[in-house]
């Protein structure tokens, strides 16, 4: 098959142009009118973001009860829409603080993804690939960001995950594995020695002597890597940056602004980490799998996220960090437009075909809605967004070339984002 690169060469475009063409998804589809497509997709995106915070709603939040309310529909549910700081944009009444932030947020109401089971959906939303595709494991977005734009000399890892489940670095290697913080109020596990620092230093001194001896006898990479890794860990223990994991260093006013609970503390830690130079933070909140008792649970979960996320956006803005920090809110998928009456209290089931996520900061233009679902909230009528579109957009906002190929350990070239992505017009 003739590739897009060959065609581009024949028509006098250079390789870079050609890469852009394939970035715009031209390679896969028809050639008629491809130039305007290129112009539309490429012209509008900036690459402002220097860091990314993903707020991951584990379980799949109900779009019709959060950011895409359909009061006139059959499965409208119990919640009322309220107006927001963005003209013409309404969201759930249980998100009053976020309503005041809507001028900073681009709602993506056309999410449409293929996986309807939690583990496979989560895998795909974290890596951009279907689980098992091509028989290999894929790195998660955080690892990609760490490997592409992470600071190699940062005293703490460039990818931190607050919550108990992390998707790893796969072929990008151990340096880009996430550092997992299970409980933000406790910080990083085992970061402090149980000994006095003097005793610890003596031990490390002994270890260093042993390392030097071993390296002289067996000059192998593994020994060097081992030593370097330990040095990095000790550096991190003693570093100023490690204070980013210590929420007690925040003022009472700020802590109160974010509110209480693990998720609120996670949001605050995310800001501290980004401030310190960490490139990618994921904060996890579970409980969104509301097959039963959907309304009460979504109401409570809305209260859990409303104040902390609003505080995060405000806080980033007042510190002048919002324009360089991309904040993403997303989940596994949406939930059924129809309400199920199976259980004691009504619920909604998995629904990947149409759902909502949002982006804010990092150069994203706020106060806008991209994409539209039909009157039931069941089908995307305008601007469907695929996982590829979504991943490629996040990469591009962060200045990462999503078409770049990375070699796996067996030398197989794998694109950061698979072919076929169309950037979302968020800027």
């Amino acid at each position: 098959m003739t590739s897009i690169i060959d065609i581009a060469a024949a028509s006098g475009l250079n390789r870079r142009d050609a890469m852009r063409l394939s970035a715009a998804g031209v390679g896969a589809c028809s050639f008629s009118g491809w130039l305007p497509v290129l112009a539309r997709a490429e012209a509008k995106l900036k690459s402002n973001a220097k860091a990314c915070i993903v707020l991951y709603m584990d379980g799949g939040p109900s779009h019709k009860d959060t950011f895409d309310l359909k009061p006139e529909s059959q499965g409208a549910g119990e919640f009322k829409p309220i107006g927001t700081s963005a003209t013409g944009v309404a969201i759930s009444e249980h998100l009053p603080n976020l309503a005041k932030q809507m001028h900073r947020i681009a709602l993506l109401r056309g999410m449409s993804t293929p996986e309807g089971a939690h583990p496979r959906a989560k895998y795909m939303l974290h890596t951009g690939y279907r689980e098992g595709q091509g028989g290999i494991q894929y790195p998660s977005l955080g690892s990609i960001v760490s490997s592409e734009i992470g600071k190699p000399d940062l005293a703490i890892p460039n990818f931190v995950c607050v919550g108990n489940r992390a998707y790893g670095a796969a072929y990008l290697g151990p340096r880009h594995q996430p550092l997992v913080v299970n409980d933000p109020s406790k910080g990083v596990e085992n970061l402090k020695t149980a000994l006095g620092m003097g005793q610890f230093d003596k031990r490390v001194g002994l270890l260093e002597q042993m390392e030097a001896g071993f390296r002289k006898e067996y000059p192998v990479g593994a020994g060097v890597d081992h030593q370097v890794n330990y040095q990095r860990a000790v550096t991190m223990m003693k570093s100023r940056e490690a204070a980013a994991f210590d929420l007690s260093k925040e003022s009472e006013a700020i802590v109160a602004k974010y509110g209480s609970g693990k998720f609120a503390q996670g949001c605050l830690m995310a800001r501290r980490l980004v401030e310190t130079g960490v490139k990618f933070v994921e904060v996890n909140l579970g409980g969104w799998d509301t097959h039963e008792n959907n309304f009460e649970r979504v109401k409570n979960l809305s209260a859990t996220i409303d104040k902390p996320i609003a505080a995060l956006l405000d806080d980033l803005s007042s510190r002048g960090m919002l324009d360089s920090t991309l904040v993403v809110w997303m989940g596994d998928f949406g939930r059924t437009p129809k309400i199920n009456q199976r259980g004691e209290k009504p619920g909604r089931d998995h629904y990947p075909r149409a759902w909502t996520s949002f982006m804010a900061g990092g150069g994203v233009k706020g106060g806008q809605v991209i994409g539209r679902t039909d009157k039931e909230g069941g089908t995307v009528e305008d601007r469907p967004i695929s996982v590829l579109d979504f991943m490629a957009t996040v990469c591009t906002l962060m200045g990462i070339d999503h078409t770049k190929q990375i070699q796996t350990s067996i030398g197989r070239p794998i694109r950061i984002v698979d072919k076929g992505a169309k950037l979302i017009e968020v800027c």
Binding site: Y123, G134, G135, A222, N229
Partner: protein
């Protein structure tokens, strides 16, 4: 050539995989025929490796010291360092046959099967979100038993490929239960049993090998009727592997790239099928049959990699014409020996371990400092796997590691992960990482330095409790962790350190802490 023929003649004498005495540790000696064919295999390895080094002007490192060999053979055959008494006894023994005897003893130990099961469950079971719900413990037990009984490899593979019925009746079904789709099944069978990576051909013709997409789906055709559902969240009955009546039911589960082509053997002919729904027997017969060259070669390459850190063909499961072996004739010779030795895994491993090549030091000498790793001029230094690390730490920190304790640690309460499984999951590196590559990151180093159990002074104090003077105490701690005696400089270093202590109790604890956190402990050199 003459040697080779003689070796074959000897190997042919072993008409069946011989019984390895497992139950009575006093008589771990296998039959003389096994020893003879293993010795011949070792010679074949040594002459091939030496010839190539000579040709390239690479010097060979000397024979490993007893201490290097002791630690290496334990980690490679039973997956953990030796107990301190064993280490001391071996190092102090003057028996010229002690290395060969130790190899036999370890191959006869039940820990051999456990270690092989650790390796093979990782290779055989697919890691995916649905398979996580599977009870894999029964499969690990089954594998360990097979390896300890020294089931011939072709027989084991046949059992796995043919496995059906409920998992609690036939643990080998776990293999199929973990593969969630037909392409998943095809990929794993190719990688593990044939030593080839056909998965690229799932969506397009393979760019380097000439393997066509039809070839992939021809192989996949054998598994279209396999129905293997991992258990659901609330399922109480044992999951079942069965055959569906027709492939059609599964079509929805196939990826878009799927091609419907008749089942065809890898690089071979279209299969002649019966009329029933079961097509796996036809495949199993071919896979384990006389005319399939791939099964034996793939296993030979894997067993070589287990000992030498990488396959004669590297990556180990990427055997194809465009990716030649470092020692092509040796691979061919070893494959023939493995086949004529009736797929006897223990005898084959014994042969490898008896070789001078395996027993060579990993320290470089003048003339091989820059030598490529696959010259085997010196032994490659491997990094401990998470399982080896955990089990070796248990040896040092004094927690029981018998089969029962291991089972407890693996299972954990309420079906959750036990301590060992948690440790392994936490330390697991990249899937296809080189065995020589260090994989741990900062969180792992933090755990090894600062976790409570790494800082308890009790294990160190217990180890040195009987020591008559500081030098003996230092020697004890070195033997317990690195399986060697310290040099005089190291004793001096430890004494110097002890002088800085506020209380004498701290010195042994510090030394033990540094030893288990050292690169020497973290590697198999």
């Amino acid at each position: 050539m003459k040697n080779m023929l003689a070796a074959w003649a000897l190997a042919a004498l072993t008409t069946q995989a011989m019984a390895w005495p497992e139950k009575s540790p006093e008589s771990t000696k296998p039959s003389s025929a096994v020893t003879a064919s293993a010795t011949a295999l070792a010679k074949s390895v040594d002459s091939a490796v030496a010839a190539k080094c000579k040709e390239s002007g690479i010097a060979l490192s000397p024979r490993a010291t007893d201490a290097e060999f002791l630690r290496r053979i334990h980690l490679d055959l039973v997956g953990k360092i030796p107990a301190i008494e064993k280490a001391r006894a071996f190092l102090d023994s003057n028996d010229p046959e002690k290395r060969a005897k130790l190899i036999d003893e370890l191959l006869a130990s039940p820990d051999f099967g456990r270690h092989m099961a650790d390796i093979w469950q990782t290779l055989l079971l697919s890691k995916n979100s649905t398979a996580r719900r599977l009870d894999t413990g029964v499969f690990v037990d089954w594998l360990a038993h097979q390896f300890n009984e020294n089931r011939p490899w072709d027989g084991m593979v046949h059992d796995i490929v043919m496995a059906k019925g409920p998992q609690d009746k036939n643990p080998a079904t776990t293999f199929w239960l973990s593969q969630v789709s037909v392409d998943n099944m095809t990929d794993t069978v190719c990688k593990v049993f044939l030593g080839v990576q056909l998965q690229c051909a799932q969506c397009h013709n393979h760019p380097f090998t000439g393997w066509k997409q039809d070839e992939y789906w021809g192989l996949a055709g054998f598994f279209l009727n396999v129905r293997a559902q991992p258990p659901g969240n609330k399922q109480t009955t044992s999951p079942v592997v069965a055959e569906t009546k027709s492939a059609r039911n599964r079509r929805n589960a196939l990826p878009e790239s799927a091609k419907m082509v008749p089942p065809k053997f890898f690089r071979g002919e279209v299969a002649k099928l019966g009329t029933g729904p079961e097509i796996r027997p036809v495949f199993a017969e071919w896979l384990c049959g006389e005319n399939n060259p791939y099964l034996a070669r793939a296993m030979v390459n894997r067993l070589w990699a287990q000992m030498f850190s990488r396959g004669l063909v590297h990556p180990v499961d990427n055997i194809h014409d465009g990716n030649p072996a470092s020692h092509p004739e040796l691979l061919e010779d070893l494959t023939q020996r493995f086949k004529s030795g009736r797929f006897d895994v223990k005898a084959f491993i014994k042969g490898l371990c008896l070789s001078e090549t395996y027993q060579r030091s990993s320290k470089p000498v003048e003339g091989n400092k820059e030598a490529v790793i696959d010259s085997y001029a010196r032994m490659p230094v491997k990094v401990l796997t998470p399982e080896q690390m955990y089990d070796s730490l248990q040896m040092v920190l004094g927690v029981a590691t018998g089969p029962a304790a291991r089972k407890m640690a693996a299972a954990g309460p309420k079906g959750g992960k036990g301590a060992r499984a948690q440790f392994v999951a936490f330390f697991a590196g990249e899937e296809d990482a080189e065995a020589t590559e260090y994989q741990a990151g900062i969180p792992q180093a933090l755990q090894l330095m600062n976790a409570a159990r790494m800082n308890s002074p009790a294990p160190a104090l217990k180890l040195v409790s009987g020591a008559s003077d500081p030098a003996v105490a230092v020697e004890t701690l070195y033997l317990a962790t690195l399986s060697r005696k310290p040099t005089s400089a190291e004793v001096a270093m430890a004494k110097e350190h002890a002088k800085k202590m506020d209380t004498p109790r701290q010195a042994p604890a510090d030394l033990l802490w540094a030893l288990v956190n050292s690169s020497e402990f973290a590697t198999n050199h």
